[in-house]
């Protein structure tokens, strides 16, 4: 009888999911072929496509939720969509993608290292050139932390040893020219450097291969999330919230950001914690820090769960990762310190404090320093408060971790859209408000790309982005409160914790 009721619902859910997969794919094809340049039209078309993709994504989640728990075909379709969307966006940034033949020719040239086939910017981002350069430096035996790409000492790198072919020299000259802020040494930690080097070993100078490696890490995150949901006895279809998230697909497959390594390592850390595999969790956490230092913010929450000895293991992993690069001495963190001191983008809280500080009289430089200090204190305060509240349970690592990473991004001076991809693995295995808030943020932060219209960061954008987030958070809290009240009325006498349903005990309401 139960089956008879469930089957039509499953069929409806799967049919809708297939339709939404096809519709999403058509939008990803359009996104891959978008000429993403400055100006109102390209940026608004980009945002319209992302908006459409997020709407389809929300509907797909609803469809997947109605297809039954642990349903194999639903999961297969989610997996197929996740891979298809990523493959579709890998060629984004190739100027010659109007026909299949020109696309293949450009990809062949890229993978063989014959020429730079990709545009400098891939869907408004251009970080991939630095990764390629670092990989080449590391492979050539040069410590990538030692010299910034613009350093004159690197000009004669081809003068010793066997002469390189002319096309190879031209390729690396062009890659070097494409690097943003070439006067600043690399900020990417050792695991990231190892991945860059692996990419270089597979295909020197290839954007496609570099992006494919990141997509590989991205899919590893998907697998860990599906496993985590299973351990939590939550509907595995929830993995769609990460696997089909348009921001995640855009930033990793489309723009080739290395943060996919961090997402995979955070997902692995959470999964091993849920399984009680503390050593594996500690190693995963060490690898997360070795892919991006921002993972360090999770340390207090890991410490509470795995203890001192396993945290020492994380430390040993981190130290071992840095050993090959110790020759750079103080240069090891020069790029990171420059980033922490100078970078600023899309930061509502920072902008507010800077404005307030500037009204009180100090120079703009002092106001900026005050704002940075205030951001730092605010992040410390929020993370300390979260750590104090943390119950140390395996299941609550995700909501506390997501809230800490969220605080780092929202309260920090630099809120790049791809940073939100760090939070999403933990958000997906949280429940209630603690999940939805970060999903909303992943959609809203796309508004930051409005800066590409006229190369100016407008106050209205920050107002829209954070105002809408605040409104949605408010709505979610009201809804959660009402739901808790209803649950209390409906289940008097039942001993049911709402921590993972209404989100009352986890940090984001959560």
């Amino acid at each position: 009888m139960g089956d008879a009721v469930e089957k039509p619902s499953k069929r409806v859910g799967l049919g809708w999911l297939l339709l939404l997969l096809v519709l999403s794919e058509s939008l990803y094809v359009a996104l891959a072929r978008l000429k993403a340049v400055n100006g109102a039209r390209p940026v608004l078309v980009f945002l319209a496509l992302m908006g459409g993709l997020f709407a389809l994504y929300a509907l797909a989640y609803l469809a997947a939720s109605h297809s039954g728990r642990h349903h194999g075909r639903t999961l297969a379709m989610i997996g197929a969509g996740a891979i298809l969307f990523r493959l579709t966006l890998l060629p984004a940034g190739l100027p010659d993608n109007s026909t299949a033949r020109s696309l293949l020719a450009a990809l062949r040239a890229d993978v063989r290292g014959e020429r730079v086939a990709y545009d400098r910017y891939q869907l408004f981002d251009d970080d991939v050139w630095r990764y390629l350069w670092d990989g080449q430096m590391f492979a050539a035996g040069t410590n990538p932390y030692l010299y910034p790409p613009a350093d004159a000492a690197l000009d004669s790198r081809g003068d010793t040893g066997p002469p390189a072919p002319a096309h190879a020299l031209a390729l690396w000259d062009e890659i070097r020219e494409n690097i943003s802020y070439p006067e600043i040494p690399t900020v990417y930690p050792p695991l990231a450097q190892a991945v860059f080097r692996l990419s270089h070993w597979l295909a020197p100078g290839s954007v496609m291969v570099m992006k494919s490696l990141f997509v590989g890490f991205d899919l590893i995150a998907v697998i860990f999330l599906a496993l985590s949901l299973k351990v939590l006895d939550q509907p595995t279809e929830g993995v769609l919230l990460y696997a089909w998230n348009p921001l995640v697909i855009k930033v990793f497959a489309g723009s080739g950001h290395m943060d996919a390594i961090l997402s995979a390592m955070i997902a692995a850390t959470a999964y091993f914690l849920l399984r009680g595999a503390y050593r594996a969790s500690a190693v995963s956490f060490g690898l997360a820090v070795l892919s991006k230092m921002s993972a360090l913010i999770l340390l207090p929450f890991l410490f509470k769960r795995v203890g001192r000895r396993n945290c020492a293991l994380s430390g040993a992993v981190i130290l071992a990762g840095y050993i090959p690069f110790l020759g750079a001495g103080s240069g090891l963190f020069k790029g990171t310190l420059t980033f922490a001191r100078d970078w600023q983008f899309n930061a509502g809280f920072f902008a507010l404090i800077r404005w307030l500080a500037s009204r009180l009289g100090p120079s703009s430089q002092e106001a900026e320093m005050t704002a940075r200090a205030a951001c730092c204190l605010a992040i410390l305060a929020v993370v300390s408060w979260l750590a104090h509240r943390d119950d140390g349970g395996a299941k609550t690592f995700a909501p506390y971790g997501a809230a800490s990473l969220g605080a780092l991004i929202i309260l920090g001076p630099t809120a790049m859209p791809w940073y939100v991809a760090w939070i999403l693995p933990l958000a997906v295995i949280s429940q209630g408000v603690g999940r939805r808030v970060w999903i909303y943020y992943s959609a809203l932060i796309c508004l930051a790309f409005l800066v590409m219209m006229d190369e100016t960061e407008h106050a209205l954008t920050l107002g829209l982005e954070y105002g809408a987030l605040a409104g949605l958070v408010w709505f979610e809290f009201k809804h959660a409160k009402r739901r808790r009240h209803e649950l209390e009325l409906a289940s008097t006498g039942r001993c049911e914790s709402p921590a993972f349903e209404g989100g009352e005990r986890s940090p984001s309401g959560g």
């Binding site: 340049v37 613009a150 802020y181 006067e183 902008a351 507010l352 404005w355 800066v451 106050a459 958070v473």
Partner: protein, 135 residues
């Protein structure tokens, strides 16, 4: 609503205040930090959100009154390249121009080979590197 929810909401609701606080304006790009030895090129990106492309071209015409260069790419195709007040001029290393400072459009000659970085949307040069003084 408990105090935790209230604190979170106050914090998040304060953020839109930034809209009024900041006012419109460009973001603060990172400042360049040349090394103490001076060996690092001082190459700040003055237009950090410009979607640009680089190309090696040869000047085939100069329309100074229109702030326009007519250039030919390596495939022999001709393009108009706009120059504005924000365009940076730099000498290519190891050329006879490398010691010259304050390069400008007046230093450009027909036949010169340039490495240009230009904004794709409107063809305005953000940086011009003079590769050779004469072609």
């Amino acid at each position: 609503m408990n105090h935790i929810h209230l604190a979170s909401l106050v914090l998040v609701l304060a953020l839109p205040g930034a809209a009024f606080a900041q006012g419109s304006g460009s973001m603060h790009p990172p400042s360049p930090n040349p090394s103490a030895s001076g060996s690092i090129e001082d190459t700040p990106r003055l237009q950090p959100f410009a979607v640009t492309q680089s190309a090696k071209v040869r000047i085939v015409g100069i329309k100074a009154d229109q702030h326009l260069l007519i250039v030919e790419d390596q495939e022999g195709r001709r393009h108009d390249l706009k120059v504005d007040s924000k365009t940076r001029f730099k000498p290519e290393k190891k050329t006879d121009l490398s010691k010259k400072k304050d390069l400008s459009v007046a230093d450009l000659r027909t036949g010169q080979v340039l490495k240009v970085t230009f904004r794709i949307s409107d063809g305005t040069a953000t940086e011009i590197k003079l590769r050779e003084s004469e072609h």
